[in-house]
């Protein structure tokens, strides 16, 4: 079980997260939707402790941390149990695809080079990039880079996989391959927290959808409930507007 309690984060006077509570069961794929600037990404970044919230507790299994007062050791423990896939993939430029995936295994998990290589090759096969393992990020397309980033995250065997708008920075024609990879990962049983604006994909991959606005969770339910029978007018309005522009070619 993963739990976030009373998470509060502000940037200056701007309150981004206003006491968010969230409980995640193992194997759940939760999609967070909502307008821009409502704290979706910040929620993920606070969970990974890339941002320091003013208040909030995080529980991952037997690990319980006060996020506002996390020590260096706490932060590393949190990050060992979570893995993040970023909007701009953030691969290590000076390392090949394979080395990117091996890095955490060697440095953080202290595996031997041989063991790390085996796992990394397995993960790259899993995302269909084994043939590209010796390429540097700048010789890969955005979609390929993001799939390497997914492999890098999965290699760490996280209890929780955080995906922060993984397709927002991609060319439209590359979105499909990344969504396909994420769908495959979701079907493998990973617990996932996904921020996305790809509504048709969210419908398909998520077991639960959360609508956020102004630092609050407004609605929380199954994709069917949120998309077909939203309780609040605000969510109904948002879904209607966004589905209008959801071109069918992005659907996989």
């Amino acid at each position: 079980m993963i739990g976030v309690k009373n998470l509060k984060k502000r940037f200056g006077d701007n309150v981004v997260l206003d006491g968010v509570d969230l409980t995640i069961q193992q194997g759940e794929v939760i999609a967070i939707i909502g307008p821009s600037g409502t704290g979706k990404s910040t929620l993920l970044r606070c969970i990974d402790r890339l941002e320091r919230p003013e208040e909030g507790e995080l529980q991952i299994g037997d690990l319980q941390v006060d996020l506002s007062r996390a020590s260096r050791k706490d932060m590393i423990n949190i990050r060992k149990r979570t893995a993040m896939v970023f909007q701009n993939w953030n691969l290590f430029h000076k390392k090949t695809a394979l080395e990117n995936v091996m890095e955490g295994l060697i440095v953080v998990k202290k595996l031997s080079k041989e063991q790390a290589r085996q796992i990394a090759e397995e993960q790259l096969k899993n995302v269909g990039l084994y043939e590209w393992r010796n390429h540097y990020p700048r010789h890969l397309s955005g979609g390929q880079q993001q799939r390497v980033a997914i492999a890098r995250a999965l290699a760490m065997e996280p209890d929780l996989l955080l995906l922060d708008e993984p397709t927002s920075a991609l060319d439209p024609e590359l979105v499909g391959e990344v969504l396909e990879t994420i769908l495959k990962v979701a079907q493998e049983g990973y617990t996932m927290l996904l921020v996305s604006h790809e509504m048709s994909f969210v419908r398909k991959v998520a077991t639960r959808v959360i609508f956020m606005e102004n630092g609050h969770i407004i609605e929380d339910g199954t994709p069917g409930e949120i998309f077909n029978h939203p309780k609040s007018d605000r969510v109904r309005d948002f879904v209607r507007k966004i589905e209008m522009f959801n071109a069918p070619e992005y659907v996989i």
Binding site: R79, N90, H93, V108, E131, W132, H135, Y136, H139, R152
Partner: protein, 247 residues
């Protein structure tokens, strides 16, 4: 005296072996000061980037003073300052450091190393800050500590950025060692002056020195170019994958 006796071109070249005997002194000074300045410069750069209180302000002051004063003045300050400091220690603590036992090369080394550190600290800081924040976040999110991120992700990329500037700064340092004579160190330039003092062929000696420094600089430029090439990400991977198909 005939016109052809004015300039003895043969002497320009015959001086060179005699001067080159002191190449090791020049290189010891330059390489030693460079290594020190890289370590110390990195330390200063980190202090400034991490905004460590008090130390950070001292670092800013240090860089400002060193960059704002001529190296020649700094050499004299160390040459006269260190003995005074040792004498002060002797009087204060009743110790018996022999000021005259300190070899001149130590003063020259201290002055050059400190001067170089101030300049390299800024080069290193700029290059560390040029590394894309996203990669650093990604490394942290894998669970790496700050020093692991620094060593494995930031430095390899920052070094590539810093290399051309550090190379320039090293070339400057080599030429800077020619001022070490002020601390009574005999390196190449000082040896040249000694030779000229014997035969009064000052012009020829300085021509010899110019040639030597120029050639050394060319060699170092070549080495730096080679290193840059070695560090750069290769254009294309040939062993595996689909060539010509890369995005």
């Amino acid at each position: 005296m005939e016109a052809k006796d004015l300039f003895d071109i043969k002497m320009v070249f015959s001086n060179i072996p005699d001067i080159l005997r002191f190449l090791p002194v020049t290189m010891e000074l330059a390489v030693g000061a460079m290594i020190f300045s890289l370590v110390f410069g990195l330390l200063i750069a980190l202090i400034r980037m991490k905004r460590i209180r008090v130390l950070s302000q001292i670092a800013v002051l240090f860089i400002s003073v060193i960059r704002g004063t001529p190296i020649l003045v700094q050499l004299y300050v160390t040459y006269y300052g260190i003995p005074m400091f040792l004498k002060y220690l002797n009087i204060k603590n009743g110790t018996a450091y022999n000021v005259n036992n300190v070899p001149g090369i130590i003063y020259a080394f201290v002055a050059l190393a400190i001067n170089e550190s101030a300049f390299n600290a800024e080069i290193i800081r700029a290059s560390l800050q040029s590394v894309d924040k996203g990669q650093i976040e990604a490394a942290h999110s894998l669970g790496m500590t700050y020093f692991q991120v620094l060593r494995r992700i930031i430095l390899p990329e920052a070094i590539e950025v810093a290399l051309p500037s550090l190379g320039n700064s090293f070339i400057g340092l080599i030429k800077g060692t020619s001022l070490a004579f002020t601390c009574a160190v005999v390196e190449m330039t000082a040896q040249g002056r000694i030779i000229a003092g014997r035969n009064f062929r000052y012009f020829e000696v300085y021509c010899s020195l110019a040639i030597i420094y120029w050639v050394i600089t060319i060699i170092i430029e070549r080495i730096i170019k080679l290193l840059e090439k070695k560090m750069a990400i290769p254009e294309q991977i040939v062993e595996t994958g689909k060539e010509g198909d890369v995005a």
